[in-house]
């Protein structure tokens, strides 16, 4: 395929028989199924795909998987499916994939931001802390917008996401993370035991590192690696209790062996093949009895001057591109290494047609075998040498090599080697991120010059390369052992698991020579040796941070931002810590590491939210009468999780008019409210009265069966927490009601007291909230309507008195009727089993028609109760209000304890000048105060802070009083009835108001409403 100049003639695991077409920055390219965007672009000879964060330097593909620090692109399936900051090395290609570069303008090749790069000297770590200080506001107005425009990588998606996501829970015996050689053996061992096993693999194919090995030079149990993997996969797939999850990343290891797995279900599919019934991504919430971590190792970069150009990549990546994808990352590569694995990479590349321009090894003591092989292949060897610089604008074209002396200096002689790839092999470090997330303790291994798992905290073990075990035979054995052990700990016996014989070239590191930074002929401050390719952190920055005292690893990290890019420093961090340790003259363990945080790699918000968005975000609870409210075009309001009708505007009516009409009808004719949402608790037991005595502020000892009483409930802090009416059903049996919002918390609190404080009380509590549909009918015509609705029922308020309740029937259905009122009108509350609720409501509406029945919503209810001066807990109280503050001392019994009683006697709660609930009437009767308006002593507001008397809690225009009314909490309010004070109006001139009693109906009846004052002259 001439269109893919860097595709090898054969080899690799891509499906060569089929070609996939995709575009990058508008240019069309070809690849094959099995390719990632990175492998396909490299096959097409394209390395540069991005710009770095700070200096906008050209960036290429550096690693072949999720550890790649900087190869980030935007993927756009369509306008609504846009994914910025997607790692090219992870994105599988599909027909029609559209990828584009980001963080550059006008184009990737010519990026204006790159003009910053020459000024790098003036932009060291933390330069912004030292500059851009100006008078207050300068940063906000001037500097920040500038910096923000340059910063950030990708563009945010525009709007709503049309894709579906879901979360799935799983319990299992053993989770195996990573399906490389160790993970496969572990899964096999555990799976054979019959244990429930989940095997998690980040890529789309099992096999891990052995897929990056030359299949001609390796066999396991006598077969090629890919065959060996396929055999195990088949066996695992046949085990009923084993689940294999590919394209799935174990991103988070949380407490109690809870793992978050992120599965990309359809990100690799062309748009038209994405199946609507499958989610785009799934989040598996896994609770495992035991965990096997087999997450492999990550290769370390080498740190040298100008090590950041496109075309410079990890040797392991070059090998992966070759063996897994059939792509030569360069035709004329240079290998730069500090261990033996670099040599193997060189030989593999050479065997596939690359002309190796040189192997540069920092070591002097080289393996004779490798030397001989290199000589046989005609590869130039530069032992005891180092790369001291590179060139090439958008791709590396040349490296400069100098000899390395024993004292750590470099020689003056140099050579330039032309190349199109620089593969760097800095040694492997165990990938212990998940182990650290699990809060295990790392141990420094001087032989590996890296951290490896030390002591575990959770039920977990590491196996294979992530445990610092690199030799394949050992890796397989360790994996098998881990699987057997994990299954055994979970209670399953695996029996013996045979470890296959390994035949072939070992990928050993040999003697590893780690140097925190390659020596250079340049003075330190002139070197640009990158540690973090994405965030542009160089050794110079770290050196400066240490020089300025930011010596703790966390300080150095935060000051330089090393490891804080979206790769979270997977391959950069160890080099950063080693560099810091070296500069500080300390050992690595003394320096430590920064924290490995979840997630291992960035996870979409949507996957974490799962299916609980849109229509499934949160339940909307509705009553049995809801359908009727809907058909009447009610305006709804959310009250907790409930939807309640606020008002029922008629054709041509606005909300305010509807409320006025409803509130008027409730007093002139007959109104009905859906009160089903009130909390209801059945209280039963010989100690029920005593219990009520303790939880309410008033006494319940003498409430007779058939009677109801209003009660206030306090917190132990003495503040009003809830209220409601409780009916006595029998001597040991009560029906308690709570506020809608308080239903759950009141029951929980009462159970708490019963179970933990007063276990000696014989009382049972059971919620009956939704057993009953409730209609509250009020108004002068309600007795007649009730008599019609109920069978053989004497509803006469003279005989069926206020605060009575009765059993009755309605159409033969047993109901409970309560003579209780939240409006001050003659009221009846009918409770009927919920399945009859809709029927009952219709009966009320139909039979009520000739009585002028008017359904009213919560807004009119609020207004009606305010006319009567009834409080709403949560509106007229705010958690700082005592019964005394409500001037309801009558409801507080004089003797006997109750919840919160002692708090009422503290010096502050006993104070005389506390804010108390009073009525407020504006002098202008048409003026409705804003709720939340404040009350002050004098007409004119002084300069802040303004001394305040109180604030308005409820405020309405009342059609029944014929003017505006308000309730307010006012300092010493009970003693100020009749006073003239002033209400603030958001900076507008204040208005004069009168302090009154709160029962406006009563005031009106007595003719005691203050004289209206129409627009008194002047605003003094």
């Amino acid at each position: 395929m001439s269109k893919q100049p860097f595709r090898t003639p054969q080899g690799g695991l891509v499906q060569r028989s089929r070609t996939i077409r995709f575009t990058y920055d508008g240019i069309s390219y070809h690849g094959h199924p099995g390719d990632t965007l990175a492998s396909a672009l490299i096959a097409n000879g394209r390395h540069m795909v991005a710009r770095s964060f700070k200096y906008h330097r050209p960036r290429g593909i550096y690693a072949a998987g999720s550890a790649d620090p900087a190869g980030l692109v935007a993927i756009g399936v369509d306008a609504k499916r846009f994914d910025p900051n997607t790692r090219a090395a992870e994105q599988e290609i599909y027909d029609g994939l559209v990828a584009s570069s980001q963080n550059c303008w006008p184009s990737l090749g010519t990026d204006i931001g790159g003009a910053l790069d020459p000024f790098w000297r003036f932009m060291p770590a933390g330069f912004y802390y030292k500059t851009f200080k100006g008078p207050p506001g300068t940063w906000t107005a001037l500097f920040e917008p500038l910096i923000r425009a340059f910063a950030g990588l990708g563009r945010a998606p525009d709007a709503g996401d049309p894709d579906r996501y879901e979360t799935v829970n799983r319990h299992c015996d053993v989770v195996v993370v990573g399906a490389g050689p160790a993970g496969l053996m572990a899964a096999l061992a555990a799976g054979r035991s019959g244990a429930r096993v989940i095997l998690v693999e980040e890529t789309h194919r099992l096999g891990g590192s052995i897929l990056s090995r030359d299949p001609e030079k390796l066999s396991l149990g006598g077969v090629q690696p890919a065959q060996w993997v396929a055999d195990i996969q088949n066996e695992l797939a046949a085990l009923p209790e084993v689940t294999i999850l590919t394209r799935t990343n174990a991103f988070g290891y949380y407490g109690n062996n809870f793992l978050g797995l992120w599965e990309k279900v359809s990100d690799h599919l062309p748009k038209e093949k994405r199946l609507g019934h499958l989610p785009r991504q799934r989040l598996w919430r896994v609770r495992a009895k035991e965990v096997v971590l087999a997450t492999g190792a990550l290769e370390r970069p080498l740190v040298f001057h100008e090590n950041d150009r496109p075309g410079i990549m990890l040797a392991s990546a070059a090998r992966t591109f070759l063996h897994r994808y059939g792509v030569l990352a360069g035709k004329r590569p240079v290998i730069f290494t500090n261990n033996d694995t670099g040599w193997v990479t060189a030989f593999d590349l050479a065997a596939n047609g690359a002309e190796i321009a040189g192997i540069i090894d920092v070591r002097s003591d080289l393996s004779g075998e490798h030397m001989a092989e290199a000589a046989r292949l005609g590869i130039p060897i530069h032992a005891s040498s180092t790369v001291v610089g590179t060139s090439g604008r958008h791709r590396v074209s040349q490296v400069e090599v100098r000899p390395l002396h024993r004292d750590g200096s470099v020689g003056t002689s140099f050579s330039h080697i032309g190349c199109d790839l620089l593969a760097v092999a800095g040694g492997y470090a165990p990938n212990a991120a998940l182990f650290s997330q699990s809060r295990g303790k790392l141990r420094y291994d001087p032989e590996l010059a890296a951290f490896r798992p030390g002591r575990s905290w959770q039920k977990e073990r590491s196996a294979g390369a992530c445990n610092g075990t690199y030799a394949l035979t050992d890796v397989l054995a360790e994996g098998a052992r881990a699987g057997v052990e994990a299954a055994a700990q979970a209670g399953f016996d695996s029996g013996d698991v045979t470890v296959p014989d390994v035949d072939g070239v070992e990928l050993g590191q040999g003697q590893l020579k780690v140097m925190p930074e390659m020596p250079s002929h340049l003075p330190p401050h002139r070197r640009r040796a990158w540690i973090d390719l994405q965030d542009d952190v160089t050794t110079k920055d770290l050196r400066l941070a240490l020089q300025e005292g930011y010596q703790a690893v966390e300080h150095a990290k935060r000051y330089t931002t090393t490891g804080m890019g979206n790769d979270q420093g997977k391959i950069a961090n160890l080099n950063a810590f080693a560099f810091i340790a070296n500069e500080r003259g300390e050992e690595l363990p003394a320096v430590g590491t920064t924290t490995f945080r979840q997630p291992y790699k960035p996870v979409t918000f949507a996957a974490i939210a799962g299916q609980h968005v849109g229509p499934h975000f949160a339940p909307r609870r509705t009553t049995p009468m809801h359908g009727w409210h809907r058909r009447r075009d009610a305006v709804f309001e959310p009250v907790g999780d409930w939807l309640r009708p606020r008002a029922y505007p008629r054709e041509g009516e606005d909300f305010f008019q509807a409320v006025q009409r409803e509130a008027r009808a409730a007093r002139t004719d007959c109104g009905v409210l859906d009160a089903s949402t009130l909390g209801k608790i059945d209280v039963k037991g010989p100690d029920a009265r005593e219990f009520l005595n303790r939880v309410y502020t008033n006494s319940w000892s003498k409430l007779a069966p058939g009677r109801c009483r209003y009660g206030l409930m306090l917190g132990e802090d003495g503040m009003v927490a809830d209220d409601g009416v409780t009916a006595c059903i029998a001597d040991d049996h009560f029906h308690m009601t709570t506020t809608t919002g308080g239903a759950a918390s009141v029951l929980a609190k009462l159970e708490d007291y019963l179970q933990t404080e007063w276990p000696d009380l014989k009382v049972f509590l059971t919620s009956v909230t939704e057993q009953w549909a409730v209609a509250s009918i009020c108004g002068p015509k309600s007795p007649a309507l009730i008599a019609e609705l109920l069978d053989d029922f004497d509803a006469d308020p003279e005989r069926f008195k206020f605060m009575d309740w009765r059993d009755a029937t309605m159409g033969g259905i047993p109901v409970r009727v309560f003579r209780i009122s939240f409006t001050g009108e003659t009221s009846y509350e009918i409770n009927i089993p919920a399945t009859y609720g809709r029927w009952m409501w219709r009966q009320i509406i139909e039979k009520g028609a000739r009585h002028g029945i008017t359904p009213y919503g919560t807004e009119a209810m609020h207004l009606l109760r305010a006319e009567k001066g009834f409080v709403i807990v949560g509106q007229d109280t705010d958690g700082t209000v005592t019964p005394g503050d409500l001037r309801m001392d009558w409801i507080v019994k004089k003797s006997g304890d109750f919840i919160g009683r002692r708090s009422l006697f503290r010096s502050d709660t006993a104070r005389k000048d506390r804010r108390q609930l009073v009525g407020i009437l504006t002098e202008d009767p048409d003026l409705v105060l804003e709720e939340g308006a404040h009350l002050i002593e004098r007409r004119n507001e002084p300069e802040p802070p303004v001394p305040v008397l109180g604030h308005v809690t409820s405020s309405y225009y009342s059609p029944n009083i014929g003017r505006s009314i308000a309730l307010a909490l006012v300092s010493g309010g009970g003693g100020r009835i009749g006073d003239r004070i002033f209400a603030t109006r958001g900076g507008e001139p204040t208005v004069p108001v009168r302090v009154t009693e709160i029962d406006f109906l009563d005031l009106k009846a007595k003719g005691a409403l203050p004289q209206a004052v129409r627009r008194e002259g002047g605003h003094g």
Partner: protein, 416 residues
Amino acid sequence: MQRYNVVRLIREGLSGHKGWQPAWRKAEPKPSYDAVIIGGGGHGLATAYYLAKLHGMTNIAVVEKGWIGGGNSGRNTTIIRSNYLYDASAALYNHALTLWKDLSRELNYNIMMSHRGVLNLAHDEGEARQLKRRVEANRLNGVQAEWLEAKEVKAFCPPISVAADARYPVIGATLQRDGGVNRHDAVVWGFARAASDMGVDIIEQCEVTGIDTDKGAVTGVRTTRGTIATEKVACVTAGHTSVIAGMLGLRLPIESHPLQALVSEPLKPVLPCVVMSNAVHVYMSQSSKGELVIGAGIDPYLSYTQRGSFDIIEHQMAALIELFPFVSRVRMMRQWGGIVDVCPDASPIISKTPVKGFYIDGGWGTGGWKATPGSGHALADLVANDEPNAIAAPFTLERFVTGNLVAEHGAAAVAH
């Protein structure tokens, strides 16, 4: 103090940045100090700074068990505002806001104080009522505040969804225009540098293991680096306040809970302001670097492990997507936890204690960051004078005995 400015930056740039000195001295503990501040976070360092600057107390030490700024200072989402309900809180937080405004110049360290505005959303009538009350209270206390209707919210913050069929529809918001965010590490380092320059010893890797008293008065602190004699000890240790107080047998009205936060991958500017919603527990801003910085809800249980429950994050994400549909495909890059010291009335304690010379500054819950300079200022006054100033006076421990709480979370959901 070596001044930071652009001229010097250029000069150093030309000469390889070899002239920069450590921002703060690495001090060794001396045998005695006039005062010891326990806790090298923002509040502790600010206290040291104001003690030295305003009260001339320079023979003092800040002892920190780890590295400075490593606790809640380095973990918070840096929201700055002062729109509290009660007079006492408004005075405290607004004083802090005033100090924030010119702190970059005062400290000669750019703390990136960005006054981009803070929206507090209302999702139902009950919340709207509470917030409107707060706006009026704020105005009368000289705190910038205004009420925005839903349309105005959308105009001020275009990515927000004001869909009428949302489960929690946005029906309005308060806006504090001079609220915003800043850079947490810079604040810590800036205070440390300025305090150190005036002679304050900042002693890292030095954990307090005990407090010595004689006849009910403090005589010194024992640390992992030896005993230090002092007659004044200020405990500024956030989540660990109870542990330090426990050394003196004091029980406090504080519980320490996990609070989680997270950031997204960096994105080009998309969110122009800070958005907060109590109802759905969303707190989000965008950092200068481009990350969406998100605070989550608090876990209900007590813990010192700096990690919370995953389901808190899940609920958080669902709510965020409801409110900001564009974030659905954005990715979470990093999550972490802090330990918040929660008081029953959601207000802090800046107080003397029954032990003479032992002062407490804690109980800030989730809201301490915004108060940093104000808290330091007030505590410095208290330590220097042994009496609270007018701003600190309402925040004593005694309020829990008398009942005079500053109930900043008082408002409950609307009932009925």
